[in-house]
Each structure stands twice: as structure tokens, then as C-alpha cells.
Point group: C2
Chain length 380, copies 2
């Protein structure tokens, strides 16, 4: 077991109708004027916008709106948010939405206190301060509700990069599983793939012991079982709830504690796919993951055999990977590039983009442009 530090100060408020407590919670957190960040019209159609703003009014929380966050949030939109946050003099951010909305709010929270352009923090400058971020989550997938990560796409350079900072852990996150019942089947499937991806990166590339392995396997089994229920019964509160909490635990620092160095090669390659083609992150991961697993399995055969045995009751690494791929097909996640209209002839271009990220993430020795192209060819 390797040395680690673990510190996750986010308070989770989990349960039915908890979003109606938002105004009161903001007040208790000492916030009086927030930038309300959200996506497009869905939170208005669902009535969530009304419930949230009613709670803000009741508790005398003023707000300024920054709407229109897209999935794979864009740098230009973040910059507009930063400008608005500065101009409006808000003392905090309230993100209402999925992972993209939360990530954009975190980026704005950093930018609002920074003199230089926010993109600098994505390409190397250390984050030293941020406005407090509070969230109401509507899609369980990214784990952004309980971590210090934010991913933004620079559309000018086609770079999908991330910040990681203790300053952007949400003060609190409100998780009402009922809000996720309206997530459509395709995005529910992408979410499942994303959560599994979050835990398998460290599982296969780190050196976890029994405890961490078991925690990961507990999360994967829970994600698969609850997603099967959700596909059949999208309104099943309990399945949505278990899925939601599993998604949070999958990327809140719990599973990698003590596993030593590890990397995020699947996310790295996927970031290039969604930066170039603007496809859903989980869809990109579904194509990358089985390909990467086949490529990487010889580097850690015991772990891949353990995966096959513990998750599927199978024997060999290949059987385990195939079973996972079959499950992706069953939940209608794409497993080949062509399913998302990505031509095999683009592989070199994607690999070049991902190789730059490999450089930024300090894993370019293993993940050369050639290696990445080889992995992508396994997804043709």
C-alpha cells in the first residue's frame, strides 16, 4: 500500500426533494449573491428551475444567470461566465445541472478571482483561489459533485483539458436521485460507462491491494446491476439512487487512495474524440475502453483475470473484456468508432491530438502517438 493523503471536504445532501433546501443551505454557507449556472431549457421544462429559484427567493439569495452550458463545456462560454461573475460581483457559484454545468461553474469560480485568462489554469498554472461552488446535480456520471476536477474544451485549439484543485471541491452538493429519472436511456448508458471508466483506470494502471480492488468491484457491480434496472424501469428511484451514490464514490478520491501512481489513458484518448467530434464523453469511453483493455491486458494479466472472475465469474482476461463489451452493447453504448461516424482514416489525427494530452499528463512515454493509434485501431 502506497502513501497517500485523502481530504474531501464536500458535504453531500442526498435524497428526495433536497433541492428545495438550496436557498437555506446557501445562506448557511454564508452566500448571498450567486451566479446561477445551468444548461439549456431542460431544468425549466422539468420545474427544477422554479423550485430552485423559489428557494433562493425565500432565503433572500440574489442571483445572476449564466445559462447555455453545453455538454463538453466550451472555453468561450466559460470566459463569458467569468466576465459576468466579475461584473455582477457574486460571492459564489450555484451550478444546477450535470457534470458539464458543474465543471463550467468550477472554472468560472477560479476565473472570477484570477487576473489572467482562465485557460492558463488548464495548461499548467496552479489554482490558488476560487469562489465557493455549490451544486444541484441532475445527471449522475462525472463525480464532479464531490471532487476538485473540471474539464473544459478549448474549441479554438480542440483541446479538452482539466484543472485539479482543492479550491474547487463544492462546498456542498445536493443529490436528488429523482432528478435523474428523466435522463434518457442513451445518456444513462453513457453515464454507466463513464462511472466504470473512472474506477477501472486506477484499478488496472495502479497497484491496488485487496481493499481498493474490492471497493472498485463493489462500484462496478452496483453500476451494472442498477443500470440494468434503469434501462427497464427508468423511474426506479432506488436504482437511480444507488447509481448516483456509486457514481459519486467512483471519483471522489476513495478508490485510488493508496494504489500508488496511476493514469487515465482511457480518458485521455476519449478527450480527443469528444474534443474533435463533440460526442458524449461516455460514448467515446465505450469505444475506447474495450480497445484499451485489449491493448493493455498483457501489462497486468493478473488484474485482468481478477476482473473477469470478480465481475463476471469468468476465467480469462479476454473473456472479461468481451463480457464488458457485450454489456456495453446490451445497454446500447457504441463500441466501434464507425457507430459514432468517426472514420478509421482519422485515427492519425486523433492520435496526434491525444499524444499532446499524454505529454501534458506525463504519460507520453507509454502513450506515444503510435501506441494511441494502435489502441484506436482496435476500436475500428
Amino acid at each position: 500500500m502506497f502513501d497517500f493523503t485523502f481530504h474531501n471536504p464536500t458535504r453531500i445532501i442526498f435524497g428526495k426533494d433536497t433541492e428545495t433546501r438550496i436557498g437555506q443551505e446557501l445562506k448557511q454557507a454564508g452566500l448571498g449573491r450567486v451566479l446561477l449556472v445551468y444548461g439549456r431549457e431542460s431544468i425549466k421544462r422539468s420545474g427544477l428551475y422554479d423550485r430552485v429559484t423559489q428557494s433562493l427567493k425565500t432565503n433572500n439569495i440574489a442571483w445572476v444567470e449564466h445559462a447555455g452550458v453545453s455538454s463538453n463545456p466550451l472555453l468561450s462560454h466559460v470566459r463569458a461566465g467569468v466576465e459576468l461573475a466579475k461584473k455582477a460581483g457574486v460571492d459564489g457559484l450555484l451550478a444546477v445541472g450535470g457534470g458539464s454545468v458543474l465543471d463550467e461553474a468550477k472554472a468560472i469560480a477560479v476565473g472570477a478571482l484570477a487576473a489572467d485568462d482562465i485557460w492558463h489554469y488548464f495548461i499548467g498554472t496552479e489554482v490558488t483561489a476560487a469562489l465557493p461552488v455549490c451544486t444541484v446535480l441532475t445527471i449522475a456520471a462525472t463525480g464532479s459533485e464531490m471532487n476538485g476536477n473540471a474539464v473544459v474544451t478549448n474549441e479554438a485549439t480542440q483541446q479538452k483539458y482539466a484543472i485539479h484543485s482543492e479550491h474547487v471541491y463544492p462546498r456542498f452538493s445536493i443529490l436528488d436521485p429523482a432528478l435523474t429519472c428523466s435522463v434518457p436511456p442513451d445518456y444513462s448508458a453513457y453515464a454507466a460507462v463513464d462511472v466504470i471508466a473512472h474506477v477501472i483506470e486506477g484499478y488496472f494502471t495502479g497497484q491496488g491491494d485487496n481493499l481498493q480492488n474490492r471497493l472498485v468491484e463493489a462500484i462496478i457491480k452496483t453500476v451494472m446491476a442498477t443500470t440494468d434496472v434503469i434501462m427497464a424501469e427508468p423511474d426506479d428511484y432506488n436504482a437511480r439512487a444507488e447509481f448516483m451514490w456509486a457514481a459519486t464514490l467512483a471519483l471522489n478520491g476513495l478508490t485510488p487512495a493508496g494504489i500508488g501512481e496511476y493514469s487515465f489513458p482511457n480518458h485521455m484518448i476519449e478527450h480527443s474524440l469528444s474534443a474533435i467530434y463533440n460526442i458524449p464523453h461516455g460514448a467515446g469511453l465505450a469505444m475506447v475502453m474495450p480497445a484499451w483493455m485489449r491493448w493493455f491486458a498483457p501489462c497486468n494479466p493478473e488484474k485482468f483475470e481478477r476482473f473477469a472472475r470478480q465481475i463476471f465469474g469468468l476465467r480469462t482476461a479476454a473473456e472479461g473484456i468481451e463480457a464488458l463489451e457485450r454489456w456495453f452493447v446490451a445497454i446500447k453504448a457504441p463500441i466501434r468508432l464507425a457507430e459514432m461516424d468517426i472514420p478509421a482514416s482519422d485515427i492519425d489525427r486523433i492520435a496526434a491530438n491525444a499524444a499532446a494530452l499524454a505529454e501534458a499528463w506525463s504519460i507520453s512515454e507509454t502513450y506515444t502517438k503510435e501506441a494511441i493509434a494502435n489502441i484506436l485501431r482496435l476500436a475500428v
Copy 2:
């Protein structure tokens, strides 16, 4: 899945030689003068006292010493600590030791800011403030390093009672598994029993779903596997490390999140045993737990069957309980009252003591004096 809030702000600093960072960490936490709380001579014999105080000196942290904490920390000693903390004007507590030392430091941290006697907070008064508590852990067992609990024994009334407050979560806890290598076999066994007890209370009395059940099972399997290694090789760093982290996760709020109402009947009955006989907490639990499980199994047969299946690969509730009891015997934990010289003729007296605690913990409807006596008779 039930509604819950989860908030655990303690920072964990885990790994070899991390105790030498104590002065620097205290300084970063803004503390300059602490009450150093510890037990008897063992931290001096081991050299830990010297390493810690050297780090304090290097970082200009002043300290006043409050030594002599006993296992099952005593109210009189807590009161002396409160007086000293007030007189010395410390701005925080540094606990160096096992769960008892940490618990006493937490109680002193509350008392140091309180006008009335500290015992009031154990029998009902809400804790509203406490000095910051920081810890260096030397025995993995109680989970006190990452929770808001503190248990103290009032020797005058033979009451072993607890406080639970967000104000006494340690600011940070330093966990160096190497420090636990000197824990002798009997206390290593008691620690294993204690950790298992922490997770099975909620597992059997709450309504966990698959995720929480799996987390509990991951912890139990890890505790059993690592304890078997520790019994054979007390210096095995990796086993000590995995055990240590499992012990922390077992009582940091993770496993009960979402399981609804649950109770701590094993701890309740054990608190009476150690309050009256001053036996080690884990030894008391080893006697209570199989007895309670046999008594309670008919109330939740599916969960007991699941326990048998998942932990031992067995079929029936009875087989699972027997297997756990056999394992307690294997690690030399006592399973019958006589092994700790507790006469069966005392059962009524113990039950009367525990029934008062059942009242305080609001579970006296199920745990009447008669019910508790019946459970204890299964440990004769």
C-alpha cells in the same frame, strides 16, 4: 436507499514516517500551542515521542503535556485535561496514541471551550464548539481518527457514554501503519473484532442496498485477510496498512450512508461490560457479537444468509455466525464471558447497566433489560 447527509472534513495523511510532518502540519493548520495528549510510556519507549516533539520544536509549536490516558478513558482524567487546557491557554489538541487517547483529546477539546462540566455533553447537552483536534494514530481500531465520536467512562457511575459532533472531527490525522506494528497479538485481535463490529451493526440493523452491503463486505474480508497475516507476521507493513485504512473507513460515515435508521446494540452491551470490568473493548465485543447475532438473526434472516455466503461461502445464517465465532477463536479473541472472568451470575447487573444505555440511545423498546440478559446468556 434512504436520504442522508455525508460530510467528513478530516484530512488523512497516510504512510511511512508521516508523523515527522506533525509540526509542519500543525503550523499550516494555524496552531501554535497545543495540549499534547498521550497514554503511558509506550510512545516514549518506541521513540515516537521524540520524533513528534522534535518536529514540534523545529516548527516552533509550543506544547503542554497531558499524559496517562488509559484505555477506556476516564472522566476524572478528562476533567484534569480540561482544567490544564484552560489554564495553559492552548489553541488546539494534539492526540498521539490509539482510539482512547483520541477520544479523550476530543472530550478535552469540547470541555476547554465549555462553561459547564464536560460530562453534560455525554448525557444530552449538544456540543456547539471545540478546539481543533489533530492526531497521530498508533493503533488502528476505533475509527476515531476520522469521525466525530468520543467515548468516555464515568468511573463514579460506571457509565461508558459517547458524544457525536461535527466539531470534534480531527482537522487532520496522521496514519503511519509502521507505528501499529508493535501492537501485540491480543490487541491486534481485539482491533479486528472492533472494526468488524463497526460495520456489522449497520449491515444487520439498517436497510443497506447492494452498494453499502458490498462496501461492508469489502471491509470485513480485508480485516480478516490482513489480520491473518498480522497474526503470523506482526511486522508486515502492507497488512498493517490495509488493516489501518479499512479500520478508518469502517467508521467514517461511508458504510451507513443511505441505509436508514440503524443501531449499535453490540457496542451498547459491550460498553457495559468494559465500564464494569474494564476489559478491552474488542474483547468485550468478541463475546457479545456472536451471542447478539444468534439472538438477532431471526429478525433479518436474508441478511444473515447473505453474510454467510459473501464472507464465508456458506449457506445458512447459523453457519455464518459459527464461522465468524471460529475465526474469533483462531485469532484468540474471547467468545465466552468466563474467558474474561465475568460470572454468569452478574448478567442481571450488566443488563441493568446496558438497559440504561439503551434508554439513552433510544433503542430500549427492543433492548429491554430482559432482552439484553437473554443475549448475554448466549455468551455463557
